[in-house]
Amino acid sequence: MKALSTVISIHSSDTAGVCSALYELGGMTVVHDASGCNSTYATHDEPRWYEGNGMVYISALTEAEAIMGDDDAFVTRVVRAAEDLGTCRFIAICGSPMPMMVGTDFDALAKIIAERTSLPVIPLHTNGMRSYLAGMAESFTALAERFCREDVQKCPGTVNVLGATPLDFSVNGQVESICSWLREEGFRVRSCWAMGSSLDELSLAAGAEVDLVISSGALALGAYFERRFGIPFVAGVPVGEKFAAFLAEALREAARSGRSSRPCLDCRRGDPAGPGVIGETVMSASIACALELERALPCRVLDPLEPEFGLRGPGDLSVPDEAAVASVFAGAPAVIGDPLYRPVVPAGTPFIALPHEAFSGRCFRKGMKNLIGRNFAKEFPSC
């Protein structure tokens, strides 16, 4: 049976992951789509849309263009838009379901557009069928391949933060809190992929001593930097004072040893019979660490997204659809997750709502919590 739901939401798509990852970098992102991808992204996935200036557009694909394979219409529109805007640092092009159906060759289109505009053009192979993690992973890695410079001196004590998008962290100050926490721990933030840093700052990422991966959508980028520049990565979000201290030490150890680590898995025992924490796995596992370290409450992380992107600790579980989610919730002593899961939480089971933009969009934006560092103690309700 296909993934289906009677009552719960669905996570953002790969196209939203692309748009969100590239939003602040001065490039133009074009989703090859008839209609809908842009308004859905702009309404539900992008809290920076109203005040921001991210250049995200759709191609306005028509039936005739799809049937006739009229790629020239797409190319012409992109080239003309780049000319009209005049200030694009790069162009990213990506697909939705219809281009997948007609076999659009984005690599070829990127080459043609690059020739006509003399701009760097990044082809991304989304199809609107995978989650935002796939879009983040591909766009971050492609961006690094294209823009990160080799001729950069290593700077001791510097960190790249990888995986910052509003889809996982909203715009309630969490990313700023992570950067502040790093500074308090004696690190300097080399670049933040990709909130609050410019494309030029990202291009100097190779100078960092270590990477902090805060979303599973950036694990691929962490691995890429490890391969290409020898930068080890550490996976975890500094939730709660005790886990944050553990994470800071893991960063120092990675800088010393050059070895990557996953503290959000390593510092907890977990408990398959414990409360379920459902959501993106780096954040959920970090919350589970904080609960275990600070409240002696071992938990089980439940991954509702594609397993190939997530981290999995002992006892953690993939829950790919509503039936799996409901089944696990039925046996859990408590559930921690986005409010749109509440309808499948059994009556009487304690539920702690932690809104996640990639699941509920802007529905609960006012209730987004900042759990970074010592905020955890006051923001996270008692279980």
């Binding site: 049976m1 993934a3 009677t6 209609s35 109203y50 191609s59 005739a64 939705s96």
Partner: protein, 438 residues
């Protein structure tokens, strides 16, 4: 180079009809008051929507339902590439819908089954799907529905298609009720202070609207009416379909603002209902007075409109201009066939009226085109682009019709001139008039 929006604009005297600006990449302005297919489908009481689509397409419709606190009326099946290569496309829909209906706490009276562009492209057999579902759930009305924006320029748009299918569950009665009529296709309940309603109701007619139906049975009553009339062009296909399928007469009486055209609509209706044509001079005069009062109050303040404010935006612009109000600009990318007469009139009489695109990539940077003086906007997109807090929150004409509608709209503009609104908070709300969790 990024340009102020005035540089992108054309005076109407030099604009082409109906497509003013060429197709290009499209920007999505953050004004969300217009309804989408989810909002419209929710008007059908006791119905449930099931979307069988790709994740990216599902996301927008699901969160539309979530924001209107209606997730208990929305379900979905997510499709992926393999569904198109292993001959399972139809069974994916049938089995998915079946499983969902078995799991729902209550069996809905009607189920919208929404497919998307990719299934149509792959040649899905929707008839077979419906036949099978109807045989499995004989007490449920299944409505075939499409979220197919790729085909938006080659037939009915998804919006038009949904408005048509909203009435697909109506059945032909043994005998039509000669004193019962329906208003079809409006998102909002009609403002019953409009002169049309006291007139026809006083003559013994019942006028039904789906927006006022609370149960599926009330909705079914609409099948008894002998006549349907539609206001908005996007609903005309619904009227035509019922005329052809059930034999209900259809009149398209467009939501317009000029005196002659309003009067023409009423004469058409009077003929169809076999009514004497009443004297509307008082209502006409009230509308004129409201516009004159508006003109006196706002003086030379420039007024800007956008195409989402009213289905016939050029008709509204013309009425305001003829009342001496300084309409400076209309935000629109193209016009509809029904706009042609007003377009020609404005081109002739007010050739400097500016037409400004909403979709152009440079409209991402509207601040570059904003003036410094006070302006009055009509419509959410006009408000966003100009950045003015003085805007009439008029979406798709609301339910304002006829001479009284003109009077009400003049009142909205006067209110907007006097009192600023919270711009971002107001226009972010999705689906004007719908419940919202924001």
């Amino acid at each position: 180079m990024k340009r102020g929006f005035d540089a992108l604009s054309l005076p109407i005297g030099r604009a082409e009809f109906p497509q003013v600006f060429p197709a290009g990449l499209e920007f999505s302005p953050p004004a969300r008051g217009m309804w989408n297919i989810v909002h419209t489908s929710m008007l059908l009481p006791e119905s449930h929507q099931i979307y069988v689509c790709a994740r990216g397409c599902l996301r927008g419709v699901i969160l539309t339902a979530a924001e209107m606190n209606a997730m208990d009326r929305m379900s979905w099946v997510s499709v992926d590439e393999s569904d198109f290569f292993d001959s399972s496309m139809e069974s994916c829909v049938i089995d998915g819908v079946t499983e969902i209906l078995h799991k729902l706490p209550r069996r809905p009276r009607a189920v919208w089954v929404y497919l998307s562009c990719i299934q149509l492209f792959a040649g899905v057999d929707f008839s077979q799907i419906l036949r099978e579902l109807r045989s499995r759930f004989p007490g449920v009305v299944f409505i075939d529905a499409l979220m197919h924006p790729t085909m938006r320029k080659s037939g009915l748009t998804p919006d038009q298609f949904t408005r048509r299918q909203l009435f697909a569950a109506l059945e032909a009665p043994a005998k039509f009720d000669r004193y019962s009529v329906n208003l079809l296709g409006s998102d909002f309940p009609a403002d019953r202070e409009c002169e049309l309603f006291p007139w026809v109701e006083h003559a013994g007619f019942t006028c039904r609207e789906i927006t006022r139906c609370r149960t599926f049975d009330e909705y079914l009553e609409m099948g008894r009416s002998f006549l349907n009339f539609t206001w908005i062009p996007q609903a005309a296909a619904a009227g035509d379909a019922l005329q052809s399928r059930l034999g209900q007469k259809h009149l398209h009486l467009p939501m317009c603002y000029g005196e002659e055209e309003i009067e023409g609509n009423y004469r058409t209706l009077a003929g169809a209902l076999d009514l004497a044509f009443p004297d509307f001079s008082a209502e006409k005069e009230d509308a004129r007075a409201a516009l004159a009062e508006l003109r006196r109050e706002i003086g030379e303040t420039p007024v800007v409109l956008d195409y989402t404010a009213a289905p016939r935006i050029l008709s509204l612009a013309r009425r305001l201009l003829e009342a001496g109000i300084r309409v400076e600009r209309i935000f629109a990318d193209s016009f509809i066939p029904g706009d042609r007469a007003d377009f020609e009139f404005l081109r002739e009489r007010f050739p400097e009226l500016r037409i400004t695109p909403t979709l152009h990539v440079s409209m991402r940077f509207p601040e570059e085109g904003r003036g410094s003086g006070k302006c009055l906007a009509v419509g959410q997109k006009a408000a966003f682009f100009t950045g003015t807090p003085h805007f009439a929150d008029l979406v798709w004409g609301r339910g304002f019709y006829g001479f009284d509608g003109v009077r009400k709209i003049a009142g909205l503009l006067a209110d907007a001139f006097r009192a600023p609104k919270e711009l971002p908070q107001t226009i972010r709300h999705k689906g004007w008039g719908c419940e919202s969790c924001l």
